[in-house]
Symmetry: C2
Subunit: 215 residues, 2 copies
């Protein structure tokens, strides 16, 4: 069995759910628990918030690089980072890693192709949207995108940290639901939940568009 | 901040909840994610079932010893194993570990003392009960114990693997609730959920006795 390395803690709830999902999948397929090592990184909250808001630095990259280096020592076969925003560093991290790092961005694009989606909405942190993490990749394979308006993205930027730190409200959920509704009007076939914490509040029940879950 | 090593996967749901609880605790106290490395061990299901049923061997100990050794390499400050049954090996594991391993058994006994409990019910896997993991420790500090009857323990032995692998029924919950009721009649002040997966079905709402949660 392949040994998986997970960079965890960003956010904590999603990573725990992801680890559990990996265990359940391997249980079903192999009658065994999964061989996983999770490095749960000690990222300070204020730095997580800065990062999500667009203000990223080598400080954040160094924390990730430390985790990657420890996962190398732990002799994993491949590495996953269940956080879209952190993928701004993926090219740099892949340069320093001898072990393959799976990219959420690439896997999401493959999933859109497989589902024959021609136009897709993207939800994510302000960094994910501003840096066009999903957009650039999707455009390169001929998929059109819809992103929130500047005002809506500004709200998303406030809401996401509240979801991560369990302080979100019913109103936050309704705001996201209404942004997805606008994406449908603009012709999107589906919406990418391009922040791994969004499935904690958005699902097939409250979204008017089919969901591409990036966890 | 201290770096925690967790031996995970036994069972998977509890370990993920435990990791999340550690993150939430550190978040509140330090405004930061926790510095944790979790070794999720690839224990086969049939071996987990054998182990819970009383048939343990060096095979199981070796899997744990491997995880302990990898956590040494990962330079943790202390190690936790969120599984009561696995504590049958704790003396051997402590012998091979230069890093402290926290014992659920010792911590549970301390908690009973602190709560001034004089007689306590114990629920757990057949191994935990047969090997008197909690009983011996509790008796050594003057706390009386109540364990399920042979027939009831036989049922518990069937139910626990179903809880771990998500196949338990409402009837299973009612069986445990009724065992706890008998413990109350026998004079227990509280009940130790001496299997970290039991809180997935037993809680302060459906238990007639106050709960000592071992997670």
């Amino acid at each position: 069995m392949k040994r998986v390395g997970i960079v965890g803690g960003l956010g904590p709830e999603t990573c725990c759910e992801f680890l559990l999902a990996v265990n359940r999948e391997i249980e079903q397929k192999m009658g065994c628990q999964a061989d996983v090592v999770m490095e749960n990184v000690a990222m300070p909250h204020n730095e997580m918030k800065k990062l999500a808001a667009g203000s990223f630095s080598t400080f954040h990259k160094d924390i990730l690089a430390g985790a990657i280096s420890r996962l190398h020592a732990a002799q994993v076969d491949f590495i996953v980072i269940p956080c879209n925003t952190m993928h701004i560093f993926i090219d740099d991290l892949r340069k320093i890693s001898k072990i393959p790092i799976v990219s959420i961005i690439d896997e999401t694009a493959k999933e859109c192709l497989q589902q024959q989606i021609t136009k897709v909405g993207i939800l994510g942190s302000s960094t994910t949207i501003q840096q066009k993490l999903h957009e650039t990749k999707l455009h390169s394979i001929g998929i059109e995108t819809v992103i929130p308006s500047r005002e809506d993205q500004s709200e998303m930027g406030e809401i996401i940290p509240r979801i991560i730190f369990e302080q979100n409200t019913k109103e936050d959920e309704q705001t996201i639901v209404s942004i997805i509704r606008k994406m449908k009007i603009e012709g999107a076939d589906a919406v990418i939940l391009g922040c791994t914490d969004l499935p904690l509040v958005i699902n097939e029940q409250n979204s008017v568009l089919p969901i591409i879950d990036t966890r």
